[in-house]
Symmetry: C2
Subunit: 314 residues, 2 copies
């Protein structure tokens, strides 16, 4: 019998295996396993998160412009800081690509990155470059968070809420996958999402008990919160506004339930959070469910059959 | 005529093009262009640097064990923090690989990373994973530096010194490239270098005016210091101890000058720094030259013809 490969065990099991090997020290206030880590310095603290994007898996040059890809790569990182209730201030960018790539593609990529950074006032402070067979973009964001919000603080009875857009980017992906270039609003959101950057810090200030950004799909990511917090979460499927563009794509794909994009689609970089019962939700947040005793995520009290979120190596 | 590619312009010109696009803010105390950036938080500061390693370019699985590659990947990052006079405390690791990679390779890689981190008391606080055609390891290190030392502070009359090992790793590379597995001390140094982690903070405390880690080769990296500081640097070729293993490889390669490995070899992650004349050099530092008026780097007053350091896309 041959040795197990990383494709055999999958991303999440591999992360668990890796995590067992890591120690900790007095600098690590929040370590691996959340949207971002919280680290002490000699004189303060910061939050930090990293993301790696691979051509053909996270973006396609025939679907997205270099500027779109730059915006999205940065958005993915800023979103992790957002999900801790933080504001990113500095990014480092590692970039690898085949030598045949036009210089203008790289400058457009950086232009998109700088544009997205400007939305929160962050700056690129360093980087590294190498040759590689595929384009690889690996970004680390660092920022300030007064009260970092983890995935593990949800309590039974808490309200569940989301901020941002749900389903639009994955509807756009669905359209692009089948060769369509419309609806434009959905395709554009897939190419270059609009994370709700004000919503993360606002939720932290309002007393959010747990928070996560939605990259594996709402139900998948609420599953991470439920597991980390030791609770169950029930989602009310009537609480969502399903955007016209999402309904259009669902119809064009032949009777797909549009709610599937909302509940299982990633890539919008929306936020989900839990708040104590009775908390007035901050601007931009919509109540969509409740924290219960138990485990797992249900929709109107029942398991959802719409399929899992994104997986690598499968 | 077709558009210029990144291979056409090369790494350093591409970095310049990119740098022009980046702005700055009040958080950026030292921005792109040094070994690490120095960034303010709401309540303090940290230094940070990133490196991307690509299989086939920065490491080979048939030459190095997974643990060696993990140690070296972390060493490259810790060395950047060392070169600012800082001590790394936290790292994030982005990793991409083909699904066929054995799980045990990844756990051994992480084991090597953790081992190297332990040399300075740093910890891995987060990460990301993806599928990719090649193995890609992208690490960002963060740390504390009381008095960050840049590349740009060298003054005419300063002493030039180095700490660590010079030439051993590139002699090891030379041996491996020709199918040898010895001398073991050189081959091992290429597989898993030993940066002088105490020397960076000691140099900062002693008043170093400029510092850099040696990844492009001593002369190439002193060239970065000379350019950034607006000075010339002259190196005394008799000041170096040329290790036996380096002489052995030089002999086996048929009359190569062993000094070539010392002056032009990278990958040892040694440090070079400048100190005011009269400063007593800290432990581990050896005087190798002097800062002069003018520009460029010379060896005993003359240009060195031993070839340039490492370049991507060429």
């Amino acid at each position: 019998m041959s040795e197990p490969t990383i494709a055999d065990v999958g991303e999440f099991a591999l992360i668990d295996v890796v995590r067992e090997r890591l120690g900790t020290n007095e600098y690590v206030l929040i370590g691996p396993g959340d949207d971002a880590a919280h680290v002490a310095t000699a004189d303060g603290t910061y939050v930090t998160a990293t993301d790696i994007l691979v051509e053909g898996r996270h973006f396609r040059r025939d679907w997205s412009s270099a500027a779109d890809i730059g915006r999205k790569a940065v958005a993915a990182n800023l979103s992790d800081i957002n999900a801790m209730g933080g504001v990113a201030t500095a990014l480092v960018v590692a970039f690898a690509a085949p030598g045949s790539l036009p210089v203008s593609w790289v400058t457009d990529l950086i232009g998109g990155m700088v544009e997205e950074c400007a939305k929160v006032g962050a700056h690129i402070v360093g980087g590294d470059m190498s040759a590689a067979e595929q384009i690889i973009i690996s970004i680390t964001a660092m920022g300030d968070a007064e009260r970092p919000v983890t995935r593990s603080g949800a309590k039974v009875g808490d309200q569940v809420a989301y901020a941002g857009t749900l389903g639009l980017a994955s509807a756009g992906y669905g359209a692009l996958s089948r060769g369509f270039r419309s609806p434009k609003v959905a395709v554009d959101e897939h190419r270059s999402p609009h994370p709700p950057y004000a919503a993360g810090p606002a939720a932290a200030t309002a007393g959010a008990t747990a928070m996560i950004d939605i990259s594996d799909g709402l139900l998948g990511d609420l599953g991470h919160v439920a597991r980390a917090s030791g609770v169950a979460i029930d989602v009310d499927p009537t609480a969502f506004e399903v955007l016209d563009a999402v309904q259009t794509v669902a119809g064009a794909l032949g009777g797909v339930d549009p709610l599937r994009f909302v509940l299982s689609g990633g890539d919008d970089y929306a936020l989900a959070a839990t708040f104590p019962a009775g908390t007035t939700l901050p601007d931009g947040w919509t109540r969509i469910g409740e924290v219960k005793a138990g485990e797992g995520v249900t929709v109107a009290g029942a398991p959802y059959e719409g399929g899992p979120g994104h997986r690598h190596w499968t």
